[in-house]
């Protein structure tokens, strides 16, 4: 190798780079270098608070459409949706694009009952500029969810019976409304969104699964806020979306689906790690769950705020295991209990 005599400035640059490499590697093994990137900016926290209060007031009052909430927001939101809609509105609901896209066709019952599930859509949470939560070692939620989703896809593909789709193939930014649209346009019969939890206050590892519904739980609402950020839906659309809660059939199916996922995920994870807490099946107003017309769940498969869990999530085998449990949960739901909840080929290897 040939080296020019390095100038002083270049030496300085090189020093900085070497230090950067060192710090980067420290982060990988979990030792925090002195300088750390700042926590979630205050701006986000404010957003959470704003939205959770909005949501709470909407839900508690129950009367979503007539609430004179934040009028200036409403005007901007309805501006987005003033494009003419070709579908006649049956109920006295303001016509909007999303009304057409959400309430247009009725779902065939057979599909809703899971009799003919052909297309399963997997949705790895976050992506691109939206990293989701980040662990102390710098593990990003978006990378883990993508990897688990891909593994789950490979597993489900092996059956040959299902058409498995994924909302994002790479580390790309994908707003929630596009995910919803994707699920609808590809006629998915089942929708599962994969996320990781983050509990800043408690160092425990929990597993929980959500389906769409109003929730009075403050924490859940905050989480919903977190996952709903970047939905690109206007406020008026959001109200209509909430109005769709009435679709009880889908709700029941989603609940059953969520229960099956949660059961498989938790019982199997418990075998690997006794310190997992079962937070059960919950209802929450996740936009990504509501916009989809078929049974849809959002699984918080693990917890990035837990250090041991973060280390585990960095191992290939643990991610594969989670994919396996999800696979078992999906099959369990599809076969309505014919398959036991034990994950297939559950080997003792770790």
């Amino acid at each position: 190798m040939l080296f020019m005599i390095p100038k002083k400035r270049e030496l300085k640059v090189r020093k900085a780079i070497l230090r950067g490499v060192y710090e980067d590697n420290l982060r990988i093994i979990g030792k925090n270098p002195v300088i750390l990137a700042g926590r979630a900016p205050v701006f986000f926290k404010k957003m959470f608070l704003f939205f959770s209060i909005t949501l709470l007031s909407i839900l508690v009052n129950g009367n979503y459409l007539k609430l004179p909430l934040f009028p200036e927001k409403q005007t901007t939101a309805s501006l987005i949706t003033q494009r003419p809609s070709s579908l006649p509105a049956e109920k006295p609901v303001k016509p909007s694009d999303y009304a057409a896209f959400l309430g247009g066709k009725e779902m065939p019952l057979s599909r809703m009952f899971g009799l003919e599930v052909k297309t399963i859509m997997i949705d790895p949470g976050h992506g691109g500029s939206d990293s989701g939560t980040t662990g102390t070692m710098g593990t990003k939620e978006k990378d883990i969810t993508l990897d688990i989703a891909k593994k789950l896809r490979e597993r489900l593909r092996k059956y040959g019976r299902y058409n498995i789709l994924i909302t994002r193939e790479q580390d790309t930014t994908l707003p929630l409304n596009q995910r919803v649209e994707l699920a609808r346009s590809s006629r998915a019969d089942l929708f599962i969104s994969i996320h990781l939890n983050y509990l800043p206050s408690k160092p425990i590892n929990i597993i929980e699964t959500y389906y769409f519904g109003p929730s009075a739980d403050d924490k859940t609402l905050r989480l919903a806020e977190q996952e709903n950020a970047g939905s690109h839906y206007g406020l008026s659309d959001f109200k209509e979306i909430i109005g769709k809660i009435g679709e009880t059939l889908k709700l029941q199916e989603s609940k059953e689906f969520a229960a099956s996922i949660q059961k498989n995920l938790f019982l199997n994870s418990k075998k690997q790690n006794a310190n997992v807490y079962n937070f059960g099946v919950k209802r929450a107003p996740f936009i990504v769950l509501l916009g989809v017309d078929v049974p849809a769940v959002l699984a918080e498969v693990s917890c990035l705020s837990n250090r041991e869990e973060e280390i585990e999530l960095n191992t290939e085998s643990h991610r594969e295991n989670i994919a396996r449990y999800l696979e078992a949960g999906i099959l369990d739901y599809l076969n309505k209990g014919e398959v036991s909840y034990e994950a297939k080929r559950s080997s003792g290897r770790r």
């Binding site: 190798m1 020019m4 640059v13 070497l18 060192y22 883990i144 990897d147 580390d171 280390i311 290939e316």
Partner: protein
């Protein structure tokens, strides 16, 4: 450098490892340079163990005996792929083998810098660390294009395009360690060309028998974009009889299939950069990795970027070792206090 070498004399062997999808190489401070193809094979059963006579085989040797082996290419598509324990084991074996090839003295401490595909770094960094940690006393993991850039002294205002087998990694250097936004990965690379070439050839010659391995060899021997004057003819058996086939057009089409994404991403990355420095970056584009050996690629890229102003694209001199040499340089330059024992 003098002072750095003096620092390295305390019976420490610095190694730079380029862990690639297709080929892995090692450069060591005792001047050894070795490479293997990133294949690991374990004998399938007792009989094959007798035949091959070794518990584990690597690279070309593994490929040659692949019929009696459990063959694993652990970093397909740039990440440790499914199969998991086996792949992690394979990565470990490759590292072990590479370090053995560097012939360290028994009492020498090994300080390693490992360059891995950018995507691997994201999800598998801990796995890679684990795989290496058994064989080294201290180590650091960096992304491959960054290692190349560091090795070539392109620390400021440059763009490294590392066209590997599984992924093409782009990395902009601007005087600091590249952040996530400065790096981009596209999935069209060498393996993608192989797949394209394979499907074009099956389409054109449905009766000829060839496999992925042969196709890869054709590509490595003849790849080109734009125009070349010579004919490309290869021998492929038809019904067991060797017949000459003209594959020039197919090779061209397959190689050119990676270009649109490559040009698009390159321009996108340059465009996103601070406008005052864009000209400097355009004059400092470096092609690395096996893909830089495609004939005409450099000229093509330079031409394609012409409309965005003058630019200068160069290829690294030694694509096989540019990554590991860079990693070695990084290891040697690293201040002693940054090396932490594992």
């Amino acid at each position: 450098m003098k002072q750095k070498e003096a620092q390295g004399e305390g019976n420490i062997l610095f190694v730079g490892i380029d862990l690639g999808t297709s080929r892995s190489s090692i450069s060591a401070s005792n001047n050894t340079r070795e490479w293997i193809e990133s294949y690991v094979g374990w004998p399938k059963d007792f009989i094959s163990l007798q035949v091959v006579g070794k518990p584990v085989l690597f690279g070309a040797e593994a490929l040659k005996n692949r019929l009696s082996l459990d063959l694993c290419r652990p970093l397909e598509h740039g990440v440790i792929k499914e199969g998991i324990e086996k792949s992690e084991e394979a990565v470990k074996e490759i590292i072990k083998h590479l370090i053995e090839l560097a012939k360290p003295q028994p009492e020498q401490k090994i300080y390693a810098v490992v360059g891995v595909p950018a995507d691997t770094l994201k999800v598998n960094k801990l796995a890679i660390r684990k795989a290496v940690s058994e064989f080294a006393h201290s180590l650091m993991v960096v992304s491959e294009p960054f290692a190349v850039a560091y090795g070539m002294n392109l620390l400021n205002n440059s763009l490294v395009i590392d066209i590997g087998a599984g992924t093409t990694d782009l990395c902009i250097m601007h005087g600091t360690i590249p952040s996530e936004e400065d790096q981009k990965t596209i999935l069209t690379a060498g393996d993608y060309i192989d797949e394209q070439l394979y499907s074009y050839l099956t389409e054109k010659y449905p009766n000829s028998k060839f496999n992925k391995n042969m196709v890869r060899q054709f590509k490595e021997q003849y790849s080109f974009v734009r125009e070349i004057s010579e004919d490309i003819r290869v021998e492929i058996p038809v019904d067991g009889k060797p017949v000459m086939h003209d594959i020039k057009n197919e090779v061209k089409r397959a190689c050119e299939s990676i270009l649109p994404a490559l040009v698009e991403t390159t321009t996108e990355m340059i465009a996103r950069f601070d406008p005052e420095f864009q000209v400097k970056i355009k004059n400092n584009i470096v092609l690395a990795g096996g893909g830089s050996l495609i004939r005409g690629l450099r000229e093509y890229l330079q031409n394609a970027l012409k409309e965005y102003g003058p630019c200068n694209v160069t290829c690294v001199e030694d694509p096989l070792f540019s990554g590991s040499n860079g990693a070695l340089k990084l290891a040697q330059d690293m201040p002693a206090k940054y090396w932490e024992p594992l």
